[in-house]
């Protein structure tokens, strides 16, 4: 007899049936796949561009092709410049200012025709540096040239004093000693603080499409009522849909992470003489933090979208809701929430706090991970069950 066949099939089996259907359906939805791919690309692309720019600038400052006009007026100075590491002296263009304006050169040096004469008479000899102050990227190079000139000037001055029997130190009243407390490594790590935010966005947008499609979309198409005519507990139905959206979110996070790790590996840190490398293990441990959030964010989206009668209505609700996971993320990039393990059980905020510790090189304890994950999953489950209750409401089943 098939009298209670529906009741005999266990609930887990039903969850899997719904999950499989939603994955099949979502996998065929170009919008779902595109939103997954797109959200996964944000972090790697951003880091790729950011680190390439940083590396490029540093390389620029280290290796300078310096156009010098009037080199014949100061053969010794130019020879000295040539001997400095990474400096290549090249002939200057006819119109130096135009060349800089046209961005053919970052900086052009013009040596005054009276250079040798003034040098001989110990009158300050003029060196003109043509540069464009609005060009951010040219600044390290200009600064390097300026410091080369200053070095030559003070060396020559010191020799002059010695020649006159005066200790060179007498001409130096003050001496600045720079103490930079942040290493370049740390400053680069600062840039990485945005990574958790980007991963959370991936977790949210990766599953967004399928979460809306399987709730508001189901109502809009008029397929919810026929679906609910099947003898399936609402909890199993909601769970299947929730897991499908969550898996898409997880997919986006993992994909994003794999790409980011690959991008980081390709940045030529060693060529640049920078000892900077967040280990793969550290990056991967971010996964342990963010993946449970994919389940929570999908549950939030699903809950909100169930109230919507159409895809568009759902999107208008979610515009606001998107801010929920983003605001703590943006705040945490400005004021890292590091060293606050008690935040761990607060969903979303806790993940950002622990992620800051991971990136700060102070890995949180396994308990913090467990707490953060368990709390996010508990809230997610609660929301999924609440969504299941919504699916009993007549206004939601029939309201079109």
């Amino acid at each position: 007899m098939n009298a209670f066949r529906g009741a005999v099939v266990n609930r887990l089996g039903l969850v899997l049936i719904v999950l499989k259907k939603e994955l099949l359906d979502g996998g065929r939805d170009r919008r779902s796949i595109l939103s997954l791919l797109f959200s996964a690309m944000i972090a790697p692309v951003l880091f790729g561009v950011m680190f390439t720019v940083i590396a490029e600038r540093r390389r620029n400052a280290d290796e300078i092709r310096l156009p010098v006009a009037g080199a014949e007026h100061a053969p010794m100075f130019v020879e000295w410049l040539r001997q400095q590491t990474g400096v290549e002296v090249v002939p200057a263009p006819a119109d130096a200012e135009q060349a800089v304006r046209d961005r053919d050169h970052d900086v052009v040096m013009i040596i005054d025709k009276d250079f040798a004469q003034n040098m001989a008479r110990a009158i300050p000899a003029k060196v003109v540096l043509v540069s464009d102050g609005t060009r951010e990227s040219a600044r390290p190079k200009v600064a390097r040239v300026r410091s080369l000139v200053a070095t030559y000037s003070s060396q020559t001055g010191a020799l002059r004093l010695i020649a006159r029997g005066i200790a060179p130190s007498i001409a130096t009243a003050l001496r600045i000693e720079d103490v930079e407390v942040s290493s370049l490594q740390q400053r680069l790590a600062m840039q990485l603080n945005i990574l958790p935010l980007l991963l959370v966005i991936a977790a949210l947008t990766g599953g967004l499409q399928i979460a809306i499609d399987s709730t508001a979309g189901e109502r809009e198409r008029g397929s919810l009522e026929p679906l609910l005519l099947n003898p399936i507990p609402r909890e199993a139905l909601a769970a299947g849909k929730w897991l499908a959206a969550s898996l898409f979110g997880c997919g986006a996070v993992v994909f994003s992470m794999v790409l980011t790790v690959n991008v980081m590996r390709r940045v030529p840190w060693h060529d640049l003489g920078i000892r900077f490398r967040v280990s793969d293990a550290e990056l991967m441990s971010l996964l342990a933090l963010i993946l449970p959030l994919a389940f929570l964010l999908s549950a939030i989206v699903m809950f909100a979208s169930t109230f919507a009668r159409s895809f568009k209505e759902a999107q208008s609700y979610l515009g606001m809701l998107m801010l929920v996971p983003m605001v703590p993320g943006i705040v945490s990039t400005l004021y890292p929430l590091s060293q606050r393990p008690w935040l761990a059980p607060v969903p979303i905020v806790g993940q950002y706090a622990l992620a800051a510790d991971v990136l700060g090189g102070q890995p949180p304890s396994i308990w913090s991970y467990a707490m953060a994950g368990a709390s996010a999953l508990a809230f997610a489950l609660l929301l999924a069950l609440t969504t299941a209750r919504l699916l009993r409401r007549e206004s939601i089943i029939f309201g079109r």
């Binding site: 529906g6 065929r28 198409r221």
Partner: protein, 244 residues
Amino acid sequence: MIHVERLYKRFGTVEAVRGVTFRADDGLVTGLLGPNGAGKTTALRMLSGLMRPDEGAIRVDGIDVVTDPLAAQTQMGLLPDSRGLYPRLTPREHIRYFGRLHGLNGSALEERATGLLVRLGLESVADRRVGGFSQGERTKVALARALVHQPRNVILDEPTNGLDVMSTRAMRSLIRSLRQDGCCVLFSSHIMQEVSALCDHIVVIAQGTVVADGTPDELRRRTGRSDLEDAFVALAGLETEVSL
């Protein structure tokens, strides 16, 4: 067999269904006839277990729909008012999904799916996504997934709505073959021809209550009209409304 007793449903101040009572027997086609807004769809929604009546009892093959809707749903195949499909799935995948939700699987499910696709004339489009289907094809897919678990009680809400002549004929022959199989078929309609062509038993609903209940012949006799449509108009109290 479907038993509906003293069913009430109120939406705000509107009493959509007011004490509807009827029964639909196995091996018979029962028509729920009434003008638009009479409460047919509301009654069927309560019958499906998705809407809770304010009062009254519904039993399907002896199972109480109000207290145990899931068990009752295993006994019913419903073509509801809304027939939304999943545009990215094929008819076969629709049937499979609903079949699995009813606990079918493996070769039994595949055979059942193929059988339904053939019976409904969907073989040629069985593995094409339903996104671009015609209204007739969509209705057939919706029907196929409602029948996948071989329900003994088949409930159809305005099944020929939006169908062309050929599809309407196919629907009628399907309803007849379900009756032959001994199923209890209950369908709602506002189209007289349909009801008179198919029904063994007619329940006329107007303004939320049953105004008449019987075989087509009984209804004609009771109203003294030879034409069933005239009988219906008289029973539903529509004449007075028109003259107002």
